[in-house]
C-alpha cells in the first residue's frame, strides 16, 4: 500500500516538473508569448551555458566564477565558525560570559548581514576583503546562537553524571559539551552557510571582478536573461552542493544519531 502511494507520488512529481518544462518551452520558443527580454527560452539558456563554460563571460569562464565565489564563502564561513561556535558554547555554559557578551551581541544581531555591505565597502573598498567581512558576519550570528542553544539543550542529568564521574574541565568540553551540542551546532552551520551565500551574491551584485553574483550583474546590465538564469542555476547548485557536503560531514561526525 505505502509503496504504491510513494510511487504514484513520485510519478505526480515527475509529471508536474515535466508539465512546467513543457509550458516553459511552449510559452517562450514556440509561441513567443513571453518575450526574450523577459524570460529566456530553453534553447537560449543552453547557449548561454555553453558560452560561459567555454568562451567565458564577465571576465571569466564558468569554473573561474564558481571557484571565486566558493573561495570567498569558505574563507568567510570558516573564520566565522571558528570564532562563533566556541563563543556560543562558552556563552551557553557560563552565565558570566553570557551576561558580559550578550548586550553587544543583542545590539548587533538585529542588523541584517546585508546591511553591513555599504559599511564594508566604505572600509575595505569593492574587493574581496569587504565581501569576506560581510560573509563573516552573516555566518557568525547563527553559529553563536545555535551553539548556545545546543549547550543549553544538554540534559542536566548528563552534566550531573559527568560531574559525579569526576572529569576535568578539558574533558568536559571535548567529551560532553561539544558532542552534546553537536546537533544544534550543525543546524547553525547550515544556517550560516545559507546566510553566507545570500550575502555573497548580494555583495557580488554590487561590485566584484569575478564571481557568480558578478555574472548576474553583468548579465542584467546586458539585458541577457538567459545568462541571468544560468547564473541563478549555478548559485543554486553551488549552495546546494555545499549544503550536501555539510550534511555528509554531519552524518560522519555524529555516528550515534539514529537515521
Amino acid at each position: 500500500m505505502a509503496l504504491d502511494s510513494r510511487r504514484s507520488g513520485a510519478l505526480v512529481g515527475v509529471a508536474a516538473v515535466a508539465a512546467v518544462l513543457l509550458a516553459w518551452y511552449l510559452l517562450t520558443s514556440v509561441t513567443g508569448f513571453i518575450g526574450p527580454t523577459r524570460f529566456p527560452a530553453p534553447g537560449e539558456v543552453g547557449a548561454a551555458l555553453k558560452q560561459i563554460a567555454f568562451d567565458g563571460y564577465a571576465d571569466g569562464k564558468l569554473y573561474q566564477h564558481v571557484l571565486q565565489s566558493c573561495k570567498l564563502i569558505l574563507m568567510g564561513f570558516a573564520a566565522a565558525v571558528i570564532v562563533g561556535v566556541p563563543l556560543g558554547l562558552a556563552m551557553g555554559f557560563s552565565r558570566r560570559i553570557e551576561a558580559f557578551v550578550n548586550p553587544a551581541f543583542l545590539l548587533l544581531r538585529p542588523i541584517p548581514p546585508l546591511a553591513w555591505i555599504p559599511l564594508a565597502i566604505v572600509w575595505l573598498g569593492l574587493g574581496d576583503a569587504a565581501k569576506i567581512l560581510v560573509i563573516w558576519f552573516a555566518a557568525f550570528v547563527p553559529s553563536v546562537i545555535n551553539s548556545y542553544t545546543g549547550v543549553r539543550s544538554i540534559d542536566a542529568h548528563l552534566l550531573e553524571a559527568a560531574r559525579t564521574l569526576g572529569i576535568q574541565k578539558r574533558r568536559l568540553w571535548l567529551e560532553v559539551l561539544v558532542p552534546g551540542a553537536a546537533p544544534h551546532i550543525f543546524t547553525g552551520l547550515r544556517l550560516s552557510l545559507q546566510a553566507a551565500w545570500t550575502t555573497l551574491v548580494a555583495g557580488e551584485l554590487i561590485g566584484a571582478l569575478q564571481g557568480l553574483g558578478q555574472v548576474l550583474n553583468v548579465a542584467a546590465q546586458d539585458i541577457y536573461p538567459a545568462m541571468i538564469l544560468v547564473g541563478m542555476i549555478f548559485v543554486g547548485l553551488c549552495g546546494g552542493g555545499m549544503t550536501w557536503v555539510l550534511g555528509r560531514i554531519e552524518r560522519y561526525a555524529m555516528p550515534w544519531r539514529r537515521a
Binding site: G9, T37, A99, L119, A202
Partner: protein
C-alpha cells in the same frame, strides 16, 4: 541546582553589573578606536557622531527624503511582499499538507529553486520591474515565502493522527475536519513560520533596496556609502536593526497570545 557552578544563575546584581560592563566595553572600544586616529574619522565615526547624524536625518532629507519617510517606504514594500508571501504560502502549505497529490506535484518544483538565494532574483526583478515597487516586493516574496509555506505544511501534515481519527469516529466529514481540527491544530506552526518569514523578508528587503530602489532605507545606505558618509550608513543600520527587532517582538507577542488562546504552552 545547576550541575556545574558556571551554569548557576547569577544574582540580579552580578547580572546587571556584568551586562553593563559588557556594554561599556563595546562602546568604549568603539570610541577609543574612533578617537585614536587609527582609522580616518570618515571611516569610523564615534558613537555620538552617529547618534547626532541619526537625529539630523529625521528633519534633514538625504537621498531625497528624511529617514522616517525612507523607513515608511521600506516598511510599505515589506508589508506588501510579506503579505503576499503569507497569503499565498500559508494556504498553499496547508493544502499541500492535507492533499498528498498536491504535495507530490509542487514539492519537486520548490526543491529545484530551494537553494537559489532570494537575492539572486534581483537581476530578473530589475529586468521586469525596473526600480518600481515590484522589484523589491518580488525579492521579499522569495525570501518570505519558503518559511511561511513550510511551516504551514508541517502544521497540517503532522497533526496528531489520533485527533483526526477521533474526529472521524465522532462522525465528522472531510470539510469539518479541515476547518475544526486541521486548521486550529496548525495555527501554532503557522504563526511560528510567519515570524521566521517576517525576519527573512525584512532582510531580503534590505538586499533588494541596496540594488534596485530609488527610496527606502537600503537606498539611503547605498547613497551614504557612495558619499562616504559613514554616519549616514550607520544610522541606516541602526534603523534597520530597530525595525527588524520591533517586528520580531510584535510577532512574538502575537504568537504568545495565539498560543495561549488555543491552549498550547505551559
Amino acid at each position: 541546582m545547576a550541575p556545574y557552578p558556571e551554569q548557576a544563575e547569577l544574582s540580579g546584581r552580578e547580572f546587571w553589573t556584568l551586562s553593563f560592563l559588557g556594554l561599556l566595553m563595546f562602546f568604549g572600544a568603539w570610541s577609543v578606536l574612533a578617537l585614536s586616529g587609527l582609522m580616518p574619522s570618515m571611516f569610523l565615526p564615534t558613537p555620538w557622531a552617529v547618534a547626532e547624524r541619526a537625529v539630523e536625518l529625521t528633519f534633514h532629507p538625504f537621498a531625497g527624503y528624511t529617514i522616517q519617510v525612507h523607513l515608511i517606504s521600506s516598511i510599505g514594500r515589506f508589508l506588501l511582499g510579506f503579505g503576499l508571501a503569507a497569503a499565498i504560502g500559508v494556504p498553499l502549505g496547508l493544502a499541500m499538507g492535507w492533499f498528498r497529490w498536491l504535495d507530490a506535484a509542487v514539492t519537486p518544483l520548490l526543491e529545484a529553486v530551494r537553494f537559489v538565494a532570494p537575492i539572486a532574483w534581483v537581476p530578473f526583478a530589475a529586468l521586469w520591474f525596473g526600480t518600481g515597487i515590484g522589484g523589491p516586493t518580488l525579492i521579499i516574496f522569495t525570501g518570505a515565502f519558503p518559511p511561511a509555506l513550510i511551516n504551514a505544511y508541517r502544521g497540517a501534515r503532522f497533526v496528531e493522527p489520533r485527533l483526526i481519527e477521533a474526529a472521524r469516529t465522532l462522525g465528522a466529514g472531510n470539510w469539518r475536519i479541515i476547518v475544526e481540527v486541521l486548521l486550529p491544530a496548525s495555527v501554532p506552526s503557522i504563526v511560528a513560520g510567519l515570524r521566521i518569514s517576517a525576519g527573512l523578508g525584512w532582510q531580503s528587503l534590505i538586499g533588494a533596496e541596496l540594488i534596485v530602489a530609488s527610496s527606502g532605507i537600503g537606498y539611503l545606505m547605498v547613497k551614504g556609502q557612495s558619499s562616504i558618509s559613514t554616519t549616514t550608513v550607520m544610522s541606516g543600520m541602526i534603523a534597520i536593526g530597530a525595525v527588524g527587532f520591533a517586528i520580531d517582538v510584535l510577532l512574538r507577542r502575537l504568537q504568545r497570545r495565539i498560543e495561549a488562546a488555543s491552549g498550547i504552552g505551559e
